[in-house]
Amino acid sequence: MEAFCTWLSNTPLSMIIQNNSWVIPSVQSVHILAISIVMASAVMIDLRLLGAFSRTQSVLDTTQRYAPWIWCAVAVLAMSGALLIIGEPGRELESQVFWLKMTLLVCALALTGTYQYVATHVLGFWERRRGMAGVVAVVSLVLWVGIVAAGRWIAYWEHG
């Protein structure tokens, strides 16, 4: 991994990012904006799964309204995240917190894909299985909060 990081940090694109100090904060701003979209969308769906609001909308309505935004924003996150890795490979790829974040992300995306699939293909499933919907919502919230927290801690872990 160290050799890979060294190679990556010597690529032309990485050089450009390293030599222009405004690139990293700009890409990070885009990254945070995309996180806003994911978090707000996920929270809206989770609150609906918990039955906290939006009873006039079915879980399917709520999922159809917000889940596509999660996937689009995750695509933006993957691209902006890739640029951040290329710019500072060691900071991310050699950080345990980064890999924790990626693990949590895979879990969150698998859970999102699953509840979305079920909502779409088994009509009324989440309305009938209230207990399971609540568990899914809480796990989803914990995963997304963990992802944001891990993301911020990448900046501190080595120094902490």
Binding site: S21, S36, V43, V148
Partner: protein
């Protein structure tokens, strides 16, 4: 901010026990900052949901007032958390932040966001019953939504820049 009274006030803020604890601990600042980021992404993300309805991009089949009543209480809760955590972060190095251009810009933008919101509520929103379910909202609502989106995107960018110019 050049006046001695302000400088004195901010340096006293910095020397409070809470501010000192945040400044001197290795984990307190990142922890409060993480809570600040979590609050801010929820503030901005939830405001975007309303703004996108106002500019007729998303949630077009839902009544505007219904969407706002559902989403905005969570926005305010998150904003309250952002205010508390932001104040704590500010206190840890008040004199440094008060002189940082992105911090000043962010505070001015927050003021603009508040003014924009007030104008919308005293203007177009008073007659929301007339256009609550319309797929095309009135000009005032569209302007408010577009301005709000622009302001909050810039708030996020300024917030990120504070960390770069003060470190």
């Amino acid at each position: 901010m050049a006046s001695a009274a302000w400088t004195d006030m901010f340096s006293r803020l910095e020397s409070t026990s809470v501010a000192t604890a945040i400044r001197e601990s290795t984990w307190l600042f990142p922890t409060v900052e993480t809570l600040h980021v979590l609050s801010i992404v929820l503030v901005v993300g939830s405001i975007m949901i309303v703004d996108l309805r106002l500019i007729n991009v998303a949630s077009r089949r839902r009544a505007v007032s219904e969407l706002m009543n559902e989403v905005l209480p969570w926005t305010w809760l998150a904003f309250f958390c952002a205010l508390i955590t932001g104040s704590l972060l500010f206190s840890s190095a008040a004199l440094k932040y008060i002189h940082a251009a992105p911090f000043r810009a962010k505070m001015v933008l927050l003021l603009f966001a508040g003014i924009n919101m007030a104008i919308f509520h005293l203007g177009s929103y008073r007659k929301v019953a007339l256009w609550d379910r319309a797929s095309m909202t009135p000009t005032g609502a569209r302007v408010a939504g577009a301005l709000s989106l622009a302001i909050w995107v810039t708030v996020i960018a300024c917030g990120r820049w504070i960390g770069f110019v003060t470190n």
